[in-house]
């Protein structure tokens, strides 16, 4: 694998771009990273998901989080209250996923995100153009 180093460098660059989106929108980044590893680098689907999860085990959003915290844009109480729910819910959902076609589930989720995105754009720029926020 003579190209291995080059590929790893390119993965770093792509992850850097995804990281900008991650800090910009306060999200984990796996939602972009997994499809990009598959489409750009030809990772098998399972390896892309496993690699993305491995990267996110490290507190990668630390620098972004510190910037938000310095700007007083973190609600500590709500954050702490949501953590256990997401953890337990994630375990339940993971078990449930074996009983439902994951493909159908992802498609339903994609439609859900699409509708949510349209709603966010509408409520930000169209519905109340002069509302103070």
């Amino acid at each position: 694998m003579a190209n291995r180093r080059l590929i790893l460098f390119l993965v770093f660059v792509v992850a850097g771009v995804v990281g900008v989106a991650s800090g910009l929108f306060g999200i984990g980044g796996g939602v972009l990273l997994v499809p990009l590893l598959v489409l750009l680098f030809g990772f098998p689907q399972h390896t892309a998901q496993g690699t993305s999860l491995a990267a996110l085990v490290a507190p990668v959003s630390l620098l972004a989080f510190v910037n938000y915290a310095n700007a007083h844009e973190v609600s500590w109480t709500v954050g702490l209250l949501i953590m256990p729910g997401v953890f337990v819910g994630g375990l339940l959902g993971g078990k449930l996923a074996h009983k439902i076609s994951p493909r159908r589930m992802r498609q339903a989720f994609a439609v859900f995100l699409f509708v949510l995105g349209v709603w966010q754009i509408a409520s930000a720029w169209m519905l109340h153009p002069n509302a103070p926020h």
Binding site: G19, G23, G26, G30, G89
Partner: protein, 130 residues
């Protein structure tokens, strides 16, 4: 009552996360904005805060046991995320809250398209299952 609602909301989002195999932030940010009436910046900062602990560790270990983790690519991704996130958050903080909300909506649509794409049956997936 409010706090009980927050815990239940986390649970529901968690189930969704486990089902779809996707990070929680993309759902949690709109949930905090619309259900808790939080400001867009505050919701994003809180989302980053609650993703600091390795919530996906258990899931990652199951992939690891099946040999589905490219560890060096993972390290490179983590490094890219770390520095990229610094610049992204700098841009976000100086943006107007409403523009940020609209940009987030655009991002959700992009994520939805990528997710739909990924949900097509893939030959590699079939091979590893068979």
């Amino acid at each position: 009552m409010y706090y009980a609602g927050v815990v239940v909301m986390g649970l529901v989002v968690g189930v969704l996360v486990g089902l779809a195999g996707i990070g929680g932030g993309v759902v949690l940010v709109p949930a905090m904005v619309y259900l808790l009436g939080m400001d867009q910046h505050m919701a994003q900062g809180t989302s980053l805060f609650l993703q600091l602990p390795p919530l996906g560790l258990g899931a990652m270990l199951t992939y690891w046991r099946n040999g589905n983790v490219d560890i060096w690519a993972g390290v490179m991704c983590a490094a890219g995320f770390f520095f990229g996130g610094y610049f992204g958050s700098k841009i976000a903080i100086q943006m107007d809250s409403r523009d940020l909300k609209g940009a987030f909506g655009s991002f959700l649509i992009l994520a939805a398209i990528l997710l739909w794409w990924r949900s097509r049956p893939q030959p590699l997936e079939k091979k590893s299952n068979g």
